[in-house]
Symmetry: C2
Subunit: 161 residues, 2 copies
Amino acid sequence: MLSKSCIYGIQAAIYVAANASQEFVPISQIASELKISFHFLTKVLQQLTQARLMNSYRGPKGGVALAKPSTEVTLYDLIGAIDGTAIFTECMLGLPGCGIAEPCPAHEHWTKVRSELTVIARRLTLDSMAKKAGELNVRLTEEFRYAQTMFPAIRPLNGNH
Amino acid sequence: MLSKSCIYGIQAAIYVAANASQEFVPISQIASELKISFHFLTKVLQQLTQARLMNSYRGPKGGVALAKPSTEVTLYDLIGAIDGTAIFTECMLGLPGCGIAEPCPAHEHWTKVRSELTVIARRLTLDSMAKKAGELNVRLTEEFRYAQTMFPAIRPLNGNH
DNA sequence: CCTATTTTAGACAAAAGAGTCTGAAATCTG
DNA sequence: CAGATTTCAGACTCTTTTGTCTAAAATAGG
């Protein structure tokens, strides 16, 4: 469905949005919290900065930050910047000419799913995902559980897990 | 979205369903009509026979055939046999624990798309796809067009294109 | 029985994706 | 200015996917 690069990029973006208090978040911090290879994440986040979704800053106190308010960055933007928009536009069977004029045998059904996917991806903002991640961590912490497999990024930083 | 293997397998299955008059359809015929590498398609179709979706027969007059009526083979079956069912079950962000108890930040939205995808894949039969492909070719033929990029498999075999 | 045809099995190569590492450039702190 | 920190750029390796090829087993037909 989504490439690993894309998944890492989305997770990192959520992390950055959830840590909006920090001006620039070091990639090393994101990588260690999310348990992603630092160098690999670096390359993924470069794609997001080149797509103008993030700003970066070198040196001490450097890192990455959202280029826009988290309410204005959607899942669609992130996927488009890393995996491209093919998933939102292409034929399920990969047939180049598939469209209304020359539909493939699965065309009408797949377009229905695809358009819903597009709507949802366009509506889902980093802001709302970061808030969901926050709620999740509060609940997990209250239940004395540790979101190891879930979303280690967003766990509270008070350290009492 | 779907792997190339999976796309080839689906196209080939539609082709076989559309050529139900032939008892066994040689893979070489499918490959040349669909313009897929013969040896590669061979391996893909072996997956479908091992999954009991197709029968195969060696030697002259051999080939592959559907193991069940085309009304009883769904897109879900084909995808499941080649790419596996992960796409119908897995979290969008690939998080292992994601579920109702521990949803990831995009959980509820993705499950909505995913369940619609599952419903459609389970309902869409080879029979209906083969019929759609047939209608398409009639129309294309009437318009003196040649479904080269579209679905070369299903074009009529009368040869007057 | 012999030959042609076809699937089966598996080795091999090419391409893309994922992950690792090194060095250079920028920037802060003292 | 010196040293530490951090992104940037690119080379490199490993794995998976995709694609190609060869030989063996099964089967039909003469």
